[in-house]
Amino acid sequence: MVSKKAGGKLLSLTTSPCYEALAAEFPRDFLGISLPEQPNKYYFIIRGQRLVLEADSSIQTIMEKLQSYKSKVSLNFEGFQYQLGDFQLRVGKVVPSHSENLRGIVMEVEYLPISSIEKSRQIMGEFFELWQEVVSKRSLPGQFMHMEPNFAEYGLGDLYTSQHTAVQYATVMAQLIATVQAVQAVRN
């Protein structure tokens, strides 16, 4: 039984990759992420250094005042949230903040009864296989890819937290950007 959350648009996640191009030894970019389930928090990720930081949302004001990095690209993940038994699904399109160009579709699956990543791995895998089977029968273009980050490299443990979510969205962002760049390279 699938129930759709009343209220229409529910999921909105904003990311703001920040670029600094003056000094080669510093990261050229890092990601900032806000999650709807943590409205007072903000997350920074430097993928190259496997670093994730959780801070109050006021950290954005601090970064703006420091003026050492500036926001270059901002993506919104907008869609709907569904309840499917013990699973919570969020399916959304990825669009730049000031554009209507669709960059991709993201699906977030959460198994609510278990917070341990290892203990939930089997049931999550089974759900994903079922999902892939259903999607393949619809002959929809494209396919869902799942690349689980190595959370341990980020210093994150087995107990799932919002920092894990932020790292996953950062990985998704990187995939989307790489895919867009690959398509552009082929066209050129």
Partner: protein, 217 residues
Amino acid sequence: MECVVQGIIETQHVEALEILLQGLCGVHRERLRIHEICLKSGPNLGVVASEVRLLCDLEHPEPSWTVRHIGGAMRGAGAEQISVLVRTMVESKASKNVLRLFYALGYKLDHELLRVGFAFHFQRGAQITVTVSSVNKMLKLHATDEAVPVTPGIQLVEVTAPASSENYTEVVAAMTSFCEYLAPLLHLSKPGISTGVVPSAAAAAASLMSDGGGTTL
């Protein structure tokens, strides 16, 4: 935004100050042990040089981190007439790898300090915080267990209160009023304006210590 005044007091009079503050604030003091790390942007990072402070609260079993950015002070004729510094200030709690993040972003250590003392947090026309602390420097990088006082025998007293552009005049008035009660022991002024110790501090402290704060100064 915050309102700030500072002053210094001799360590021998801190106990008397604590008695006075206990009576004025009506709350228990909290112990203070803050590792303050001041970072500055490296060369070629950003349009302008920038500075950020990371505060690590060492008082609790699990250290907690705060990022603080102190901005410019309010200027103009109005600002000069008030005895309290009003400046922009933004803080954010952060997870423990915040120092590593800022190093990765290109910030360098400028200096670090360890503040050890106590604080009173209370409401008196404004949400006021009084901190009394010795300021210590570390002889080795991040070695908080080997810190030595910057000015032996002297401690820093800081009175702060959060404010906004709408209410800072009320906050300034509340702080000014409160600081008058501390006048027998120390002078409080805008940071950067040195006033030294108060000549009557010894007598005032003796009076406070003799009757545990019952005497009206």
